[in-house]
Symmetry: C2
Subunit: 300 residues, 2 copies
């Protein structure tokens, strides 16, 4: 393993490791305005939500790595502490990248990048008409984390009003990732298309907790057939008794103790785990557990 | 368009819009320790880099939406202001999700989620052995943005030491997205695989700026054949003269003025744009410009 201190590593190299490791990053296409009314729009991938009550975003218009100078976005925010944060879709991202060039103050990046200015309702900066989600924000605070080239400036913004295109919503009323088709930022000149075949689902833990991998039967937990993914799926159930079909087992035996003792004969192992893997890869955790509990020999 | 104020919208619904729109999000698998030495590890997708000099991260262990209580991660940071931020790969993400359950203080999520504790060099919290990038951090500050359920707590961390598995590096020494295979967080129970066919590249603007879409010839800029992506590619070149083969044109005519006057006859338009689109989709912007400049009639 490579172990590097930022102080012993070239800043450019350390920067590239950070961008390659902290990914995929959402992209904020941030619209601001100076006190004379000149609009600016620029993309930032040092960006995320930080909380939902109140709804808080952060993004960082870092100092230029080359010159140490602040960007127009930050200068504008000091003059007019408002912003519209627009999301960036795959179809917009080439244009948004064009706007990331540091054009001189006064140049309108909406025009340079071919986007349309849409007046906001609660703040002075314009919305980006082509973006399917536009968040009107007031700036709550800014935190400068350094003064050199590449130093971050944390802009803390509160969402006052969110605009959503109806076309990005699924039948359940939620944003459908295949309809919004967001672009994410990776290291180097890579981007990521966060839709289609790149998507997968993991059922989220509720208020009742998973039993945990440490609670799995030893034989299963240490099996060379199963990956961490399979173990995590088996360990995500809230309790085991619900998976018992056999009422006598349910009544008479402490379930975890029971399956901890069970032992599949070596000559049946391969077949046993192949079926469990198939069921888990289909997302059928309940089926996998039922099969395990049916197959493990009853020691009664 | 739907326009919603947070105050007029149910918190759960507003939360779901934020998670669906601000994506894909990188995942911090944050290891902390309390003053008695009990370890904790939990994933947070409200996370990103904020600057590289010094290297700064933020993440938010938000208050529970259900109870308003703070999480063990934050409580630990108040006791021991250190953390290891580990990245989350596709092969780790099911296990990391298991650790996102709010197990009681004192329960070791490393064991629950089947991960291995690795001692750090400069801080007390453990690294996650299975993660290919582990960042040892000191906490510089925390900012509570509210006190209710779902309120964000911005933890500002500085990286002291980064550990990288050599296996994730490409031949150029940079992190290869297809080798690290990071997972990103989307809305609802969706995740995104940030590698393979989901990746694409956009050449990054350098210190010399693109000419901009507003500087494109009117006929091209307003063509119904080209998308914003194609226009952005054409507009990303730094200047046009470098694309001229014809020395006489290069010498005698102001390039932008020249191509602004050029006009493709309507009966050749479809063929003309089809070829431009093919070249641009292949990433051959230079070829597309050469073809445009060769084809546009010479008005000399």
């Amino acid at each position: 393993m490579l172990s590097l201190r930022p102080t012993d590593t070239g800043q450019r190299q350390f920067h590239s490791y950070m961008l390659g490791a902290i990914a995929p990053r959402p992209i904020a296409f941030v619209s601001t305005i100076d006190q004379s009314g000149n609009p600016n729009v620029s993309p930032f991938s040092f960006f995320n939500a930080m909380g939902t009550n109140p709804p808080i975003l952060v993004f960082s218009p870092s100092r230029s790595g080359r010159t140490g100078k602040t960007k127009n976005t930050y200068d504008n925010i000091l003059e007019v502490p408002e912003a519209v944060v627009n999301v960036v879709t795959v179809s917009m991202v080439h244009q948004a990248s064009l706007a990331s060039g540091e054009y001189p103050k006064g140049v309108n990046e909406f025009e340079k990048a071919g986007f349309t200015q849409l007046p906001s309702e609660l703040v002075r900066p314009f919305r980006v008409k082509e973006s399917p989600v536009q968040m009107e924000c007031k700036i709550r605070d800014t935190v400068e984390t350094g003064k050199g080239g590449g130093a971050g400036i944390i802009v803390i913004a509160e969402i006052l009003l969110i605009h959503l295109e109806e076309t990005i919503l699924g039948t359940d009323g939620l944003i459908d990732p295949d309809k919004i088709q967001l672009a994410g930022r990776m290291g180097s000149d890579f981007y990521c298309n966060a839709s289609g075949t790149s998507l997968f689902r993991i059922p989220q833990p509720g208020p009742v907790l998973g039993i945990g991998i440490d609670a799995l039967p030893d034989q299963i937990r240490t099996s060379s057939y199963l990956t961490g993914k399979h173990l995590a799926q088996l360990a995500s159930v809230n309790s085991l008794p619900e998976y018992f079909d056999n009422a006598s087992i349910k009544k008479n035996i402490a379930p975890l103790g029971y399956i901890k003792k069970g032992k599949i004969p070596v000559n049946r192992e391969k077949q046993f785990y192949r079926k469990i893997i198939r069921l888990l890869d289909e997302g059928n955790t309940t089926g996998a557990w039922k099969f395990i509990l049916k197959t493990l020999p009853d020691e009664n």
